[in-house]
């Protein structure tokens, strides 16, 4: 096992490479609120938060509940000269269902409903058992990796902006009324943004590793306060949290 602050340049144990520029850093345990940035490209490497896991779990459950509401309540309704039409979220995706536009239906359903819901479920699956000192669930690493891969493809917030553009286009043509699903979707955006802001993937990977997902004895001892005090002593105190170029 590698002690905090030690590293082995031949095997890479105890080192972290910036995913953006490949610069090597010695892995250290951060206290909540500290930010670690890459010495070369200033990309944020880690930004742990106090109680982030509980907050993310709560927000993910919230967004799943909101998603159920968004799917089953009416979304938008229009009327003009006695003719009316209402649509749900499924109706929106089904707009492409005739003929060879069909695959787009699946894609749209995925982007706006399935992927955001799946990501929320994956985060709950990964983080709920790890609150406090709990051990990770089986395949938690794979689940979290999937959730990270899907991140750019879940497009709920883009859909809401798309809705407002569509509403302006229709406004001249007919009267539009917004259904509960529309408001559920707006809330979903806020919840999703908050959840993304709290997520520090480095700390989640670290925790997965420290709690016994495949480690090969490479984990850093999770004694954050001691490590921080040690680092402050070595680096001359102050804001020791990985200033660019602090060596």
């Amino acid at each position: 096992m590698i002690e905090a602050g030690n590293y082995d340049i031949r095997t890479g144990a105890g080192l972290i490479a910036c995913p953006r520029c490949d610069a090597l850093h010695v892995e250290t345990e951060l206290t909540p609120g500290e930010t670690a940035r890459c010495v070369r490209c200033h990309t944020v490497l880690a930004r742990p938060r106090e109680g982030a896991f509980t907050q993310i779990v709560a927000l993910s459950v919230t967004s799943m509940v909101l998603m159920v509401a968004a799917v089953f309540f009416p979304f938008l309704e229009i009327s003009r000269m006695g003719f009316g039409n209402a649509t749900s979220l499924f109706g929106v995706a089904m707009a492409f269902s005739d003929g060879w536009l069909m695959p787009l239906t699946v894609a749209v359903l995925g982007f706006i409903v399935a992927l955001p819901a799946l990501r929320a479920a994956l985060l709950v699956y990964v983080l709920l058992p790890m609150r406090g000192q709990g051990l990770p669930a089986r395949h938690a690493g794979a689940a979290f990796r999937l959730s990270e891969i899907l991140r750019p493809w879940s497009m709920a917030e883009i859909f809401v902006i798309g809705t407002s553009v569509a509403l302006v286009k229709v406004a001249g043509l007919a009267n539009v009324s917004l259904g509960p699903a529309f408001w559920a979707f707006c809330a979903l955006i806020v919840v999703g943004a908050a959840s993304d802001a709290f997520t520090c993937s480095t700390s989640i990977w670290d925790t997965l590793e420290d709690r016994g997902a495949s480690t090969d004895g490479r984990e850093v001892v999770p004694d954050a306060p001691a490590a921080a005090a040690n680092r402050a002593a070595v680096e001359g105190g102050g804001d020791a949290a990985a200033r660019p170029g602090s060596a």
Partner: protein, 223 residues
């Protein structure tokens, strides 16, 4: 976190130069012959210009689908069962229509999301892939990284136009009065956006930071 060498003036030690390979998913460092990250399972690869082939391939696919996306109709509108005329609007046509209605703000959003952003993306990705791996000053490298981050952030927002078409065609089904149907351009536009997203994702930002040989060190000693 600090750099492993104590000298401030020393060049930054990268995993590649140390004979290691860093995971792009979680940052863990492994010996160069490891195939996959033992922590997160991401496939490991050293920064290599050969990976740019994927960038160019996705970019070409995106560019090809962007052409029909602009030439074919995005929306087919029928008012009063075709008596008041039925119209087919392309992307640009839709923007012009919005300007005629006087909704300049929305016209600007649609124009930026479906014309300026995709074309800007093509140009920036092509530029990044052209200059990747060539030696750069620190300032130039920072500029390139910022450009890549902007592309990654903004690329998904082009999908807005596809969603607008979906919502309009689901909503405006007023029988005799007015109906809207999606046109074939919606599919090619969605594909174009997806392909350029994949292109930006397959670009390895580690190539920005250093001129790297076309072949890895091990290949050359073997040859």
């Amino acid at each position: 976190m600090r750099a492993p060498d104590a000298d401030d003036d020393a060049p930054v030690l990268t995993a590649h130069r140390a004979g290691l390979v860093g995971c792009r998913g979680c940052g863990r460092v492994w010996p160069e012959d490891c195939a996959a990250c033992g922590r997160c399972g991401t496939r490991l690869s050293s920064p290599d210009r050969r990976s740019l082939q994927a960038v160019w391939a996705w970019l070409a696919a995106g560019l090809i689908f962007y052409i029909p996306a602009n030439l074919l109709p995005m929306l087919k509108t029928q008012t009063f069962a075709g008596l008041r005329g039925s119209s087919e609007a392309t992307i640009i046509g839709g923007v012009i229509e919005l300007v005629h209605y006087g909704s300049y703000g929305v016209a600007a959003i649609v124009f930026v999301a479906s014309v300026i952003v995709p074309i800007g993306k093509f140009i920036v990705i092509a530029w990044l892939a052209r200059v990747a791996g060539r030696p750069a000053t620190v300032e130039a490298a920072h500029t390139r990284l910022r450009a890549l981050e902007a592309i990654e952030f903004i690329g998904r927002w082009s999908m807005i136009d596809v969603f607008v078409v979906a919502i309009l065609s689901a909503l405006v089904q007023l029988g005799f009065v007015a109906t809207i149907h999606p046109g074939p351009a919606a599919v090619s536009f969605a594909l174009s956006v997806a392909f350029t997203m994949l292109s930006a994702q397959s670009f390895d930002p580690r190539l920005i930071w250093r001129g790297l040989p076309l072949r890895t060190r091990r290949d050359r000693t073997a040859a």
